[in-house]
């Protein structure tokens, strides 16, 4: 067996309440590696043929939580959650840093594949003895913080009871959902460690749809053996040397972006992207650090980047709120995007977003969207129940809870920005376009906090438009070549992209080879494995359904707002260049061997060993 893999995957059929184990042959593992890639393959094999009919929130969808061969060995252990996305109706490889990943491996599993739906709330407990489905009725309705505390105590106690004499048991690793996931808020996140989230894709809702509150793992075994242990050890040390050298990033993480991206690159969402520039100095890193950071070097398993910092509010009405940093994405989405420039309010809303189990990016995107509709008088105080004014933390606090509980207008917004737009159009008897023009989404997935208009940030013309993961800022389309060895690799090897940047790519791929023993290189990834994964994801994305199906090429575009000129700042007047989008889109398709509408050609599919997908693509071509 190739190195780095525990070798088996845990299968949980919640309908039958059955637990079993699955293995995949070496060829499959080599062809799809792990995480994001393997998830797409599993989905295709099991529900690909009825894809368009599968409701992402129905029992036939799968919730897949996978590690990769590099997880826990390469710095920055992560878990990759996937399934059919209730937002894009395609697939997303959604990752988060958590001890759940290496605990799972030490328990002897590379991942968990959950199908069906439990009648009662449950959680799955994975240990060296295998998996167990356990009742979670007492956890249902609890927020993230309460869930984490309760499970730490409960599972800790059970394990200690099982093996009382081996010494102290450590807390398990876990992924869980908050009320948002339970109530199937379409863009809800799979949460872990209080404030880490698999945010994109809406897999929190998928877990909720299965009555699955959490998956908990505690393993006492060793990490899987690797193909070339001595090389792996050396590479491990070397890669940490690179990470440790990144003094600036280690010091501040992305926590300084709240001011920097707005002020410097004019690409920060402000008031639902109506603006992308600000000079609010109250909102700078130091103001967070000096008053709120109680731990300035916080890391996950095997990470020396420690880009996280634990924040705590010590005084006032939000006293006791705890969150991580917030990082740039939440500084903007729980801050500037709400017109909020007060660090304390931003920390409070970030904490609340995490507790409720919203995705810190996608949830607030929908809220910002609602606030703009209120600003424009499309949604009224009557619709919402109160005034939804920019910069009013109390108002957004209420809206956040309403969406998580699907109360009032929250029930509509819980469908995610795209579907909410359509529903509101219906409600208000307006044409969809009239509402979609304020929806900053790509293929149902709300866009991350990096605008394309100034062209000064790392997101450009087709970054989102061509991406198989839509608005996901962690998986941007570039030239269909270099991006393959970027996020697609990290999401399939399953480690943190922040532990990737700063380390020479050659070293990382040598590491991958030393771990697995596969003849893997940057080139092989850029030419074969990466494209294979992306092409399969593209196929599933285009098949879409049941409620929404994307039109090839037409829907491969930016949100309308990105074509409005920037209203202020050094880049005032600048907008995303349509012509450039068109031309680069074609190059992208060509590079990947897709036709002019972005449908994979027969040759490409054959070349990538995806011939069985061809029949479905043929339909699309016609």
């Amino acid at each position: 067996m190739p190195g780095g893999y525990a070798g088996k995957f845990l299968e949980a059929d919640l309908l039958k309440g059955k637990i079993s184990e699955t293995r995949f042959d070496d060829e499959t593992l080599e062809a799809y590696f792990g995480g994001r890639g393997l998830a797409a393959k599993i989905l295709w094999d099991r529900i690909g043929r009825k894809w368009a009919k599968v409701d992402a929130l129905g029992p036939e969808n799968l919730l897949i939580a996978l590690t990769g061969p590099m997880t826990g060995i390469y710095p920055g252990g992560r878990i990759c959650v996937s399934g059919k996305s209730p937002l894009s109706n395609g697939t997303v490889g959604s990752t988060a840093s958590t001890e759940f990943a290496h605990e799972l491996k030490c328990a002897g599993y590379d991942g968990v594949i959950v199908s069906g739906r439990a009648d009662e709330p449950v959680y799955i407990q994975v240990t060296d003895e295998g998996g167990e489905i356990k009742p979670a009725g007492h956890l249902w309705g609890k927020d993230g913080e309460e869930t984490l505390i309760a499970l730490n105590r409960e599972v800790g106690a059970t394990l200690a009871k099982k093996k009382p004499n081996v010494g102290l048991w450590r807390e398990p690793g876990m992924i869980y959902i908050g009320p948002a996931g339970e109530n199937m808020v379409r863009n809800a996140a799979v949460m872990t460690k209080l404030c880490h989230a698999c945010g994109y894709g809406g897999y929190g809702a998928v877990m909720g749809s299965k009555n699955l509150k959490a998956v908990v793992a505690k393993g006492r075994g060793r990490m899987p053996a690797v193909d070339a242990p001595e090389a792996a050890k050396l590479l491990w040390r070397r890669s940490h040397e690179y990470l440790i050298a990144r003094s600036g990033f280690r010091r501040q993480g992305t926590g300084y972006g709240g001011y920097g991206f707005g002020n410097n690159t004019s690409s920060e969402p402000i008031r639902n992207w109506q603006e992308e520039w600000h000079d609010e100095r109250s909102f700078g890193g130091p103001m967070f650090e000096t008053r709120f950071w109680v731990k300035k070097k916080w890391s996950d398993w095997n990470c020396t980047t420690n880009c996280m910092k634990v924040s705590c509010i010590k005084t006032g009405p939000w006293k006791g709120d705890i969150t991580d940093m917030p990082d740039y994405e939440l500084q903007s989405h729980c801050g500037t995007n709400f017109g909020i420039f007060d660090p304390e309010a931003c920390i409070h809303l970030s904490t609340l977003v995490d507790k409720l189990g919203h995705s810190g990016i996608n949830g607030p995107n929908a809220m910002g969207y609602a606030a703009e509709l209120y600003q424009r008088g499309i949604l009224t105080e009557k619709d919402i129940g109160f005034e939804l004014k920019w910069g009013d933390p109390e108002a957004f606090d209420r809206l956040m809870r309403m969406i998580a509980m699907r109360e009032g207008i929250g029930d509509v917004l819980a469908e995610g920005t795209y579907r909410a737009a359509l529903k509101i159009a219906e409600m208000k008897k307006m044409r969809p376009e009239e509402l979609l023009k304020y929806a900053v989404v790509v293929k149902g997935i709300e866009v991350g906090a990096h605008g394309t208009r100034s062209d000064a940030d790392f997101a450009h013309d087709i970054s989102y438009a061509a991406s198989v993961q839509g608005g996901d800022h962690t998986s941007l389309a570039d030239d269909g070549y270099s991006d393959m060895s970027g996020s697609i690799f990290a999401d399939s090897g399953v480690f943190c992209s922040f532990a990737y940047g700063g380390v020479p790519q050659e070293l990382v791929f040598d590491f991958a080879k030393a771990i697995t023993g596969f003849p893997i290189t940057i080139e092989s990834w850029r030419r074969v494995t990466g494209p294979r994964i992306v092409t399969l994801q593209r196929a599933l994305l285009l098949m879409g359904g049941p409620d929404v199906t994307w039109k090839p090429i037409e829907d491969d575009d930016n949100p309308p707002r990105f074509y409005e000129p920037l209203p202020n700042g050094p880049y005032a007047g600048k907008t995303t260049d349509r012509a450039k989008v068109k031309s680069k889109m074609q190059t992208y398709f060509q590079t990947l061997g897709w036709d002019e509408r972005g449908i994979p050609t027969r040759e490409t599919l054959d070349k990538l060993g995806l011939s069985d997908v061809e029949p479905f693509m043929r339909k699309l071509r016609e």
Partner: protein, 173 residues
């Protein structure tokens, strides 16, 4: 190195990266094995990380507790040494330890306790390299303080929670 040494700890400085566990198990087990690591970082609540390892109490209750004399102290480093041949996995040392530091090895169920790597602890090296200094090497013989560090990590974490989060900290663990 033959001087008595000790691994001083600054809990509040621990990032929770657990590289100490990796370095320790690489050294003792030949590969990454967190649950077989002689230092284990507890995290009963995120942010409250507690590196848990032998503190070499000056009165060595674990050594005295062993019914088969499998435990002894190293003449140089003063570390507790486990004779795996003799150990019968009875767990008495665990119960005797005020902080329940020892564990039975997940592989062979023999008691395992930090042996200070013969005087050059791997955990300290990686922690220092990363600039955390949550674990610090101190050249110092056993003192009465030591037993104070042999404390249940959950209790320690409860204190940290209050230090970091104030009143809120009283609820989270």
């Amino acid at each position: 190195m033959s001087k008595p040494i000790w691994i001083a700890r600054d809990y509040a400085a621990c990032s929770g990266c657990k590289r100490c566990e990796i370095a320790c198990s690489l050294h003792h087990e030949g590969w990454m094995w967190p649950e077989a690591s002689r230092v284990r970082v507890f995290m009963p609540f995120p942010g409250c990380e507690v590196p848990h390892l032998c503190a070499q109490c000056n009165d060595y209750p674990c050594v005295d507790s062993c019914p088969v004399q499998a435990l002894s102290t190293d003449a140089d480093t003063k570390a507790v040494i486990v004779d795996r041949e003799k150990c019968i996995s009875c767990g008495k040392c665990i119960k005797a330890c005020p902080g329940q530091v020892p564990i039975l090895h997940p592989g062979d169920d023999k008691a395992i306790i930090c042996d200070l790597c013969g005087g050059d602890p791997e955990c300290v090296k990686v922690c220092k390299e990363a600039g955390y200094n949550a674990l610090m090497l101190v050249e110092e013989g056993p003192s009465v303080h030591r037993r104070l560090f042999s404390r249940n990590p959950i209790e320690v974490a409860k204190d940290l929670a209050v230090l970091f989060f104030g009143e809120k900290g009283e609820e989270v663990i």
